[in-house]
Assembly symmetry: C2
Homo-oligomer: 404 residues x 2
Amino acid sequence: MSSTNLPPANLPKKHLFELPEGIIYLDGNSLGPLPKAVSSAVADCVEAQWGGQLIKGWNDCGWMEQPVRVGTQIASLIGAPSGSVVMGDTLSIKVFQALAAALDMRPDRNVIVSDSGNFPTDLYMAEGLMRLKGRDYRLETPEPDAVLDAINADVAAVMLTQVDYRTGRMHDMRATTQMAQEAGCVMIWDLAHSAGAIEVDLAGSNCEFAVGCTYKYLNGGPGAPAFIYVRPDLVKSVEPALAGWLGHAEPFAFDPSYRPALDIERMRVGTPPVLQMTALEAALSVWKDVYMSEVRSASLRLGDLFIAEVERRCDGLELVSPRDGGQRGSQVSFAFDHGYAAMQALIARGVIGDFRAPNIMRFGFTPLYVDDEDVLAAVDIFEDVIANRLWDHPDYQQRGNRVT
Amino acid sequence: MSSTNLPPANLPKKHLFELPEGIIYLDGNSLGPLPKAVSSAVADCVEAQWGGQLIKGWNDCGWMEQPVRVGTQIASLIGAPSGSVVMGDTLSIKVFQALAAALDMRPDRNVIVSDSGNFPTDLYMAEGLMRLKGRDYRLETPEPDAVLDAINADVAAVMLTQVDYRTGRMHDMRATTQMAQEAGCVMIWDLAHSAGAIEVDLAGSNCEFAVGCTYKYLNGGPGAPAFIYVRPDLVKSVEPALAGWLGHAEPFAFDPSYRPALDIERMRVGTPPVLQMTALEAALSVWKDVYMSEVRSASLRLGDLFIAEVERRCDGLELVSPRDGGQRGSQVSFAFDHGYAAMQALIARGVIGDFRAPNIMRFGFTPLYVDDEDVLAAVDIFEDVIANRLWDHPDYQQRGNRVT
């Protein structure tokens, strides 16, 4: 694929976002920008709902049902049926819930397979869960292209992030799930870098569980709630490990013993973060009349354009994302020895991407609000930074504990 | 104690809250009202920080440090040293973290003692944890006044909510902790109905762990984040069961293996809910130059006044809270056979309390924004509802899954 002069029919949706002047934002894969609909929705939630209705908000403002209502909207973006997705907590917690349920389903097996490209928190949460279980569980993390070889009859669960957070490399969801299930394993997909970026056919993949976050491509804001999907035929049998009261069949009966809800609500835990849920719910309005196929093809086109221009104009960078769009999520990553400093130099000049250790410069292509012109303008600045060694400046060297 | 004509020196702080006209709000024990400082803080977080700074907000707007920064403010309200409290997740999750750590500290013991008056989610989370551990753990829930008798050398952890959510009955934190520790148990306090309501001397109690929520007396808003306290001498040895990446010693090193932070940050899990944290941080500004001793004595005075007036003017109600203020948190509960309907009748007339099954009408006395005049006006309406059987109306009968 290559750049064309014909924009996609219905993109971008820049007019729906607050985008600061002078910024080219190529980090929507980390934190999506502010949709314009959010400010007034949050203000209304704070002032009219919380301020005006007080405790009655739980009954009269739809706060209690919001995690399922928003989950249903997310479901429609990831190929999942209504009622199979619920919101809450953080992605780490949702990983824990899914993995605990998966291990429960295969009590006779003791291996969890993930990969070395998974986001660390997924691996850490697995470590913590294994320690809790106090049995001889083992977590295996082969290289991404060796995952299929690691699947065998000892494996209880295969837990993978579909799109590698560093390289953008994609797993084949359907083929991997099929192979895992043929070996009797439970399949868990982390859609952190998929939801809102690529076409996900969750129901078609047949996986048992999926989880994801909503502050990246779904633009839900910093700390937006996570989601969990449970395959509908399993919902009634999954034993929630985090047995919180809002997952109870009758939370307001205040039973002394836990009895899970009969539907996806059993994956709820505690009191939902109403302000964050409201920001997310408003942010999802930008998806009205957007097709994910259109987002996907536009994103690949932008990524292809970026790769071609950077490789033509910037020396010393190595593409670490798959060149083939079919293998790549919606980000493009280049390895560069001075990657951290170079990213700081770009940010100082209004091009925002981010850096991932040890040497990866990461750029996200989110066609809801990024277009060809942005990509070309970003490469102009990138070329300047590289050709004129603008990264070689003391201000750009100190890393510390920074997100970008 | 009884009502006096002299108001406390520095209360109420009504002018710092948005209180709807015509409402007497006696449900701050469930959801605190909106502090005026919150709206602009949240709007700034959404528009200037998220909207204007995008991903840079994590570095430049203090989002990453916020859970510890706010935790330190909470610490000062509950008698805990700086650096011993961190915010995040929900109270259910924090209960799970504390209890998992406690069981880890007493691997040779197999009993958890709580009580029948604990809020159900604490018990449910314990059930879930025990199932995960896959050992012969047992949860005991004696009546509140029989807890001390249940403590023995089989008990790994004693986990209690200091103030009973239905009756307001208080446990003696210091004496109970001492007795638990003399028997070799780990002590966990849930401060859901304590923080911001009564004087808590967490450090003085010597308990190992404490947890709490911030949407009640701390007015953080619906779904505000929870907190966890770890006794400082234990922080370096507690093994986090929920081993999320933001509890890692170096989250942005993206290590494949978990290595907990050396301080309270190890109890962090995933990405913090920045909008909720910001609402909470702004809400805490109301505590400037307020002494908890002053809040406590004013609250007892209001509660005593309410008890005296209700008992004098309303027939057929039975006080289920301790009459002695020293045994009572900051709520007053009456049992009444038609309690649900009567509470709906009160709410319809502008007096907001809540109902807890099977027959408890619950009223919170929060002197930051409730005064004697409110109490007397509320009792006028209560008397009318009871004397004239205003509860006996079809609109007030249907309970369903309602919060009040």
